[in-house]
C-alpha cells in the first residue's frame, strides 16, 4: 500500500547566509503508512518541531520533498492551505491558542476556514467534541472557564473538526497530571482506533510512546537515528542510552535482570509483557 505521507531527503537550514546558519533537519527520509500510529522521539533540539512543521507546510524545505498521498505538497504553493486541512497539527500547549467566545465557535474555526457551513459544519464540530469527551452543555461555555485539561481537549477538537487525514500532535500531554495525561491519551487512542486515522505523536516520554504507538522514529541531532516497532527500537536499548536518550524504566529493569543471569528478553516496554515473561520463567523453574 502506498504510504499516506512520504518524507524524502528532507533538509531544513535556518539562517542561510548568516553566521547563525545551522540545519535543524538533515536528510531525513521516512514513510508514514495509512492508519498508522507513529511516535517521534528525541531531545529538545533534535529537530522534532521543525520536522512536523514541514509535514503540514508551515515550513518550506530547504531541500527534499514531502509527498502527501503521493503528491508533493509544494507542487502548487498556492494550495498549501489545503494541505493544512488534510494534515492537522496540534501544537504544544494548544490551549493557549483558544480565542473564541464559546467552545463551539472555537472548534468551528478550522472547518469554517475550510468553507464549511450549516449542518455540515455543525456535524464536524459536534463529532470532534464527542471524540475528545466534551459534553454538549459545555459547547456554549467560554473556553476560558474550563480546566487546563479540558481546554487542551477543546484545542485538540479544533483540529479534529477539520477531519484531517493525518493528525500530528506535538507533546500532547506536556504539563498534565497523570490522570489528565491518561484521559488525553485515551482520546487519541480512541480516535486512532475508531476513525482509523493516521496519528503522529511527538513526545519526550519513552513510556508514553512505547505504550501507544505502532512504530517509533528516533531523532538525534537533526537526523533519523533509528525507526521501527517499539520492540525493534528497544532491542537496541544500549544504543539509545549511549545516544543520551532514555528507555522506559521497565526496559531498564529487564536489562538489569538479564545482567543478573535471568533468561529475560530485554526488548520489553510494558509491565504486562515483563510480568508474563517472568511468570513463564517461574513455571519453567517449578518444572525442574
Amino acid at each position: 500500500m502506498e504510504p499516506i505521507l512520504k518524507v524524502v531527503h528532507l533538509t531544513h537550514i535556518y539562517g542561510t547566509g548568516t553566521p547563525f546558519e545551522r540545519s535543524a533537519v538533515e536528510d531525513m527520509s521516512f514513510d508514514v503508512a495509512d492508519g498508522e500510529f507513529l511516535g517521534i522521539i528525541g531531545h529538545t533540539g533534535s529537530g522534532k518541531s521543525t520536522l512536523i512543521q514541514h509535514l503540514n507546510g508551515l515550513l518550506k524545505p530547504s531541500s527534499g520533498q514531502i509527498l502527501l498521498e503521493g503528491k508533493d505538497i509544494w507542487a502548487e504553493p498556492k494550495k498549501i492551505r489545503d494541505v493544512r486541512f488534510r494534515v492537522g497539527l496540534v501544537f504544544q500547549y494548544p490551549e493557549y491558542q483558544l480565542f473564541e467566545e464559546t467552545v463551539y465557535k472555537d472548534i468551528a474555526f478550522g472547518p469554517t476556514n475550510m468553507g464549511k457551513t450549516g449542518d455540515e459544519l455543525d456535524c464536524c464540530v459536534r463529532e470532534a467534541a464527542r471524540l475528545v469527551g466534551i459534553r454538549d452543555d459545555q459547547l456554549e461555555k467560554s473556553p476560558f472557564e474550563l480546566s487546563g485539561g479540558q481546554k487542551r481537549r477543546v484545542a485538540l477538537a479544533g483540529v479534529l473538526a477539520m477531519q484531517p487525514r493525518v493528525l500530528i500532535l506535538d507533546e500532547p500531554t506536556a504539563g498534565l497530571d497523570p490522570a489528565g495525561r491518561e484521559n488525553l491519551l485515551a482520546n487519541i487512542r480512541d480516535y486512532h482506533r475508531n476513525k482509523n486515522g493516521t496519528v503522529i505523536m511527538v513526545s519526550h516520554s519513552m513510556e508514553e510512546v512505547a505504550q501507544n504507538v505502532d512504530r517509533i522514529l528516533v531523532l538525534k541531532s537533526a537526523r533519523v537515528l533509528m525507526q521501527g516497532t517499539p520492540k525493534d527500537v528497544f532491542c537496541r536499548a544500549d544504543e539509545l542510552l549511549s545516544a543520551g536518550l532514555d528507555v522506559p524504566q521497565i526496559t531498564r529493569v529487564a536489562m538489569a535482570l538479564k545482567e543478573r543471569g535471568l533468561a529475560v528478553d530485554p526488548a520489553v516496554y510494558t509491565t504486562e509483557a515483563l510480568e508474563r515473561q517472568l511468570l513463564t520463567l517461574r513455571k519453567g523453574a517449578a518444572g525442574c
Binding site: T44, G175, L176, I250, V253, A256, R260, L262, E275, L281
Partner: protein, 282 residues
Amino acid sequence: MSTILQTENLQYIYPAVEEGEGATVALRGVDLKIEKGSFVVILGHNGSGKSTLSKTFNAILLPSAGSVYVEGMNTDDEEHLLDIRRRVGMVFQNPDNQIVSNVVEEDVAFAPENLGVPTAEIRQRVDRALDAVGMVEFAQHAPHLLSGGQKQRIAIAGVIAMEPDCIVLDEATAMLDPTGRREVLSTAHWLNREKGITVVLITHHMNEAEDADRVIVMDDGKIAMDGAPKEVFVRVEELRSLGLTVPDTVDLLDRLRRDGLDLPLDALTVDACADAVAEALR
C-alpha cells in the same frame, strides 16, 4: 531536628469570582511540620490543593483559617513579611514568567537588591548563587535564549541569592523536558545535601519522589498520605484511586505479588527491583 515550616489546621478558600458562583475550598485543615534540612515531596493531582498549600508557606496567600509559621513567625504578621519571604524562596512552573531582567546576573541580583544588600555583597551572592546552579558562564547572557532547564536554574539562583533556609519548587519541573527536569532535580538535591537548604518539591511526577526523605500526598485539600517514599509507594491501590500512578518498578512488583511471588513492594529503583525479582525467581 527543628521545625522550619509548620501549619496548624490550615484552611484556604478562594472567594467566588462572580456572584452566584460558590467559593472554592482549596485547603480543608492541614496540619504539617516540615523539618529543617529535609527534602520533602508533595504529590497530588491537579486541584488537590498542593499549589495552594505551597503559596501559604511564604505569605503569598494568607490562611482563611488556621495558621502558618515559618521558623516560629506567623505569616499573618505583616511585620515579618520580608523576613519570611527571604527565608522561604519560591520557584514556579513557567520559567519565562519569573525572570525579571534581560541579563542573567542582573536577574539573580533582583532579590538582594530589593533587600537592600550592599553592592559588594550582592556581587558575592550573585557569583555564589550562579556557581551553586552551575551557570557561572552564562552570567552575561540573555535569559530568553537559554533552555528551559537553564532558565529554571537561573530562577533557583535568584532564590538562593536571598540566602534562604528553604526553597519551595512549585511544579518547577512540569514544563521541562527530561534533560531539564534532571538538571533542576539534581540542583535541588545538591542544595539540600551540600548547603543544608530545606527543599519542598511539588510535583505530579512520581519518580521525582524516589530520593526524597518524605512524601506527602494531597487530595481534596487534605493530607492523604505522609511518610518515607518506600512507605507511601507500596500503597499502590490508594495512590491509583487518588489519580496518581506508581513507578513502573512498583507496578511490576505489585503484579508479581498478585501472581503469588514473594516480593517486597518497596524496591523503587531499577536495581533494587531487579535484585528483588532475581532473588525471588532463583
